[in-house]
């Protein structure tokens, strides 16, 4: 099963303390300087929507956002363009992009140090229902890929996987590491 359109969301610590308004100028700044590998285009503000996409940096190949879907606030990378390579390559690309964005936001002075990865929880979605239906069969099919990837990401530390049950929803897995990792640690684990 080919995993395209991988979405990765890094859940943040103390979400109630994060104010999304300063993100708008921050994301506009990312466009001004085109700080990412992808072509960045515009900013969409959905703060008025309950448990919604938050503030979204629209790009051509991907979107970045600080997303509050399911009332779980996190830094999200949504890969829109198709990527060549293996499933490991695509998971790695998306996780790295999310981590890099999170690292940038953690260091952003306008956010006053309030936005930080919680160190343990990562959600992965596959944004393509036809290829990856949210079913047991899909879980079985992708399990080896996920195991291989998260073994490496967490350096062999234990972690748990939990899946959403609504068959209408995107195929999604919530990965929770048994110990905390910094964004820098995880980026290093990805490259080693």
């Amino acid at each position: 099963m080919e995993l395209q359109h991988v979405n990765v969301k890094l859940l943040v610590k103390n979400p109630q303390e994060v104010d999304l308004e300063p993100l708008i100028p921050v994301f506009h700044g990312w466009i001004q300087d085109q700080v990412c590998e992808e072509l960045l285009l515009d900013v969409a503000d959905y703060r008025h929507v309950y448990a919604g996409p938050g503030v979204v940096l629209i790009g051509h190949e991907c979107n970045y956002s600080v997303d509050n879907t399911d009332n779980r606030l996190g830094v999200r990378y949504n890969r829109k363009a198709v990527l060549d390579g293996s499933n490991q390559d695509r998971l790695k690309q998306a996780v790295r992009a999310a981590l890099t964005a999170c690292q940038r936001l953690e260091a952003e002075p306008r956010l006053e140090g309030r936005l930080h990865f919680n160190g343990q929880e990562i959600e992965v979605f596959i944004n393509d229902r036809l290829v990856t239906l949210n079913r047991d069969a899909t879980r079985e099919a992708v399990r080896p890929d996920f195991q291989m990837f998260f073994q490496k990401l967490f350096r062999g530390s234990e972690y748990s996987l939990s899946y959403g049950s609504d068959p209408r929803s995107l195929f999604a897995v919530c990965v929770k590491a048994s110990q905390t990792f910094s964004v820098a640690d995880l980026l290093e684990n990805l490259t080693s």
């Binding site: 395209q4 309950y50 393509d128």
Partner: protein
């Protein structure tokens, strides 16, 4: 582009109606041909528009990032999907929902599409459609297939075609309706979709149905074709029919629809609509799209001649069984409830009580209510759409509709289910009170995504909503019931003309810099199907608009007479006095270092409509052209006051004079010795600003200049109540355009 696009066609082949499937195949071929350079970009643009695929802001490949204009390096390079429209630029997909009627499966489909092809949000429009933004053109055939499998089409959602047929969302359940218009609106929608007689219009054509004349829900007055249910007795038998109106429309200059026939029997509804379509296609303007709506044809001909030509055309139509096939079931049509009707809840919390008061209304069927789900700015998430599907399955037979106020209504809710339903809505963030009140603000997309947007209507709406919600517990009912509607530009997609407090985006120059503004439009009427249109009072910087709302609502609360509507209050107090209340808000900020005025709500970039003026912020220095345009603006306001006092001739003349003065202000920049002779002013303006296209709006072209030329040509003719009214609107738009032209020219302050 989605990896699975090529797989969906086969997957859905058995689920799509054949006609829709064929249509989408054709479009997919056209996409391929365009990519190979074998289809002209103009042709492709119209073909995609007729499938609901619209351009979005920055699709010309440029975006001002707050510091400079960035060229956007799209991977497909110079490939375009229309003139000056880059292939890879995100676009908007409009999805037609006739009468706003949906079922649970369709809600789920929309949820999936919002998630997979857009940014997770579906947006309800002011014409009961849905829009998805940031969609890539390569994904659209698949997106359409998935919609078609749920029996939804995007066909003719944009372009020069018959747009979504809207209808009162309370049709069939409203206690005040004459009869349920649902089967008739659906029949008209089906009949006109793809009809050969509707393929050669110069502009769009919007039909609407209402079950009564007194409420707002159908907004028939502002539609090209408006149909209001009526009954009359013939030989002791009660007959259904429609008051038929034609030629209404908002746009830059709003027109009230004219009565075409006080009683059209149902069997004549479809053939007459067809005859109107033929007449519009044959005689409507084609070259000048600014005068191509049917309202201009009716204005030019007069309603009597228009009617005569249509009735003649009607006689020549070959009979079509579809005209009447649907009628045998129409009178029996009725939705049914899922659960037995119950008692009104006996106990309620304060929050629940408030929600009951603003978000429910009784049905004509005892023990049932309609519940309104208020969507902030018309937005709903994919997860909320799925929850809506669950809720309408649980409590009703999937009887849900969208509204022109950008909300949902759930019909046939048993009263005894209200606490449970409220809890279910609350759980997913859809149980907010305030539907149809001052906090339930209607807005078009504005500068967020629309290419034509001048000011941030959504940014302003979000800010107003936040501030008003904080105060909403203090509002007395008359203030609470006011309607605020916002458009990002003069094109009225936010329906600002029929609001109590309407706003539309304009730009002005302050101290050499473009500053986002909104024209404040007062005196519109939402009831009576959009019974009357407001007029602009003053252009105010965007950042001062919340204070405008506060002052006007405070004044209304303090000074209204018992039972007085806001429209009547405005009329009694007078716009001159209300303008005075706002006067100091129109001025530049006292502190020139305060840069907040130079950016818009929700967008921190320094505001621009193109190139900014280059001068430093120069405090009190105001150019002569600014003074002259301000004088023109004063005159158009005087014209408005004269019109409201019944001095029609003076109103027309003053409006015309204001245009001349604005034109002269521009001419004077290049030709200081210009005289006051109207012929010379118009001639010089034409040579210097029209022929050179300096005055041209980036999207509307020479539309506003033509207002001056028309007014000049007709300046010796007497003014009527209608013509002077239109001229006032045109004069205001001409002056707004003169301001924009001045902004683009970056006129130095010394002139």
């Amino acid at each position: 582009m989605k990896a699975s696009n090529s797989l969906w066609k086969e997957q859905l082949s058995a689920k799509m109606p054949e006609s829709l499937a064929r249509e989408i195949d054709i479009f997919e071929t056209e996409v391929a041909l365009r990519k190979q350079g074998k289809l002209d970009e103009r042709l492709f643009a119209e073909t995609r528009l007729r499938r609901g695929i619209y351009g979005q802001r920055y699709d010309n490949g440029q975006r001002h990032d707050g510091r400079k204009v960035q060229e956007i390096a799209y991977p497909s390079g110079k490939l375009t999907k229309g003139p000056n429209t880059m292939w890879d630029a995100p676009g908007m997909q409009r999805i037609k929902i006739p009468g706003g009627g949906l079922n649970a499966e369709q809600l789920e489909t929309l949820a999936d599409l919002a998630e997979e092809y857009s940014d997770g949000i579906a947006h309800v429009t002011t014409r009961q459609d849905f829009q998805l933004h940031y969609v890539h053109i390569d994904d659209t055939p698949t997106l359409m297939r998935r919609l078609a499998a749920a029996n939804i089409t995007t066909r003719e959602a944009c372009g020069n075609s018959v747009r979504n047929v809207t209808a009162c969302p309370y049709a069939g359940v409203c206690p005040d309706e004459v009869f349920d218009v649902t089967p008739y609106s659906r029949a008209l929608s089906r009949f006109l979709l793809g009809h050969p007689d509707c393929q050669n219009f110069g502009r769009k054509f919007k039909p609407a149905f209402s079950g009564c004349s007194q409420h707002a829900c159908g907004l028939t007055n502002l539609h090209d074709l408006g149909l209001i249910a009526v009954k009359r007795s013939e030989n002791g038998k009660e007959m259904r029919g429609f008051e038929m109106y034609v030629g209404g429309g908002l746009g830059a200059v709003p027109y009230q629809a004219k009565l075409f026939d006080p009683f059209v029997p149902p069997e004549e509804l479809l053939p007459l609509a067809q005859a109107i379509a033929r007449v519009f296609a044959r005689h409507g303007e084609k070259k000048n799209r600014n005068r191509a709506r049917i309202k201009f044809l009716i204005q030019d001909w007069g309603i009597e001649k228009f009617k005569e030509v249509v009735l003649e055309e009607r006689k020549n139509l070959p009979p079509d069984p579809r005209w009447t096939d649907y009628l045998k079931d129409a009178e029996q049509f009725q939705e049914a409830p899922l659960r037995p009707g119950g008692e009104w809840p006996s106990w309620a919390s304060e929050a629940f009580e408030r929600w009951l008061r603003t978000n429910t209304r009784p049905q004509k069927q005892a023990c049932y209510v309609v519940v309104t789900v208020a969507l902030p700015l018309g937005d709903i998430t994919a997860n909320q759409l799925r929850s809506m599907a669950d809720i309408v399955r649980r409590f009703t037979k999937e009887t849900v509709r969208t509204t022109v106020e950008q909300n949902f209504v759930i019909r046939w809710v048993s009263q005894s289910d209200l606490p449970e339903l409220y809890n279910a809505l609350q759980f997913v963030g859809l149980g907010e009170p305030g539907a149809g009140t001052i906090i339930d603000i209607v807005t078009c997309p504005g500068t967020d995504t629309c290419k034509l947007g001048i000011s941030s209507s959504r940014g302003l709406a979000a800010e107003l909503r936040k501030r008003l919600a904080e105060k909403s517990f203090q509002f007395e009912e008359p203030v609470e019931n006011l309607h605020i509607k916002i458009s990002g530009c003069f094109n009225s997609c936010g329906q600002h003309h029929v609001a109590d407090l309407g706003f539309y985006g304009v730009s002005r120059k302050i101290a050499g810099y473009a500053v986002p503004h909104f024209q404040v439009v007062l005196g519109g009427e939402w009831e009576h199907n959009g019974g009357s249109y407001g007029l602009p009072v003053a252009a105010i910087p965007s950042k001062n608009i919340p204070e405008v709302v506060a002052r006007l609502t405070d004044r209304y609360a303090a000074n209204r007479s018992s039972g007085e509507s806001f429209k009547d209050f405005v009329k009694r107090i007078g716009k001159a006095e209300l303008k005075a209340v706002l006067e100091n808000l129109a001025r530049p900020p006292a502190d020139p270092s305060d840069r907040s005025f130079f950016s818009d709500w929700g967008d921190p970039r320094e505001y621009t409509l193109g190139d900014l003026g280059t001068g430093e912020c120069a405090g009190e220095v105001v150019s002569a052209i600014d003074f002259n345009l301000a004088a023109a603006e004063r005159e158009v306001f005087e014209a408005q006051v004269a019109w409201e006092n019944g001095r029609v001739e003076q109103a027309g003349k003053t409006a015309y004079q204001s245009m001349l003065h604005a034109a002269k202000a521009l001419v004077k920049v290049e030709f200081p010795n210009i005289s006051d002779d109207p012929d010379q002013v118009v001639s010089e303006f034409r040579t210097r600003y029209y022929d050179t296209q300096k005055f041209f709006d980036p999207f509307a072209g020479g539309k506003f200049a033509n207002y001056l030329f028309d007014a000049h040509q007709k300046s010796k003719e007497p003014y009527t109540i209608d013509s002077s009214r239109y001229l006032i609107d045109e004069a205001q738009l001409f002056i707004d355009a003169a301001h924009s032209c001045n902004n683009r020219m970056g006129t130095p302050a010394s002139i």
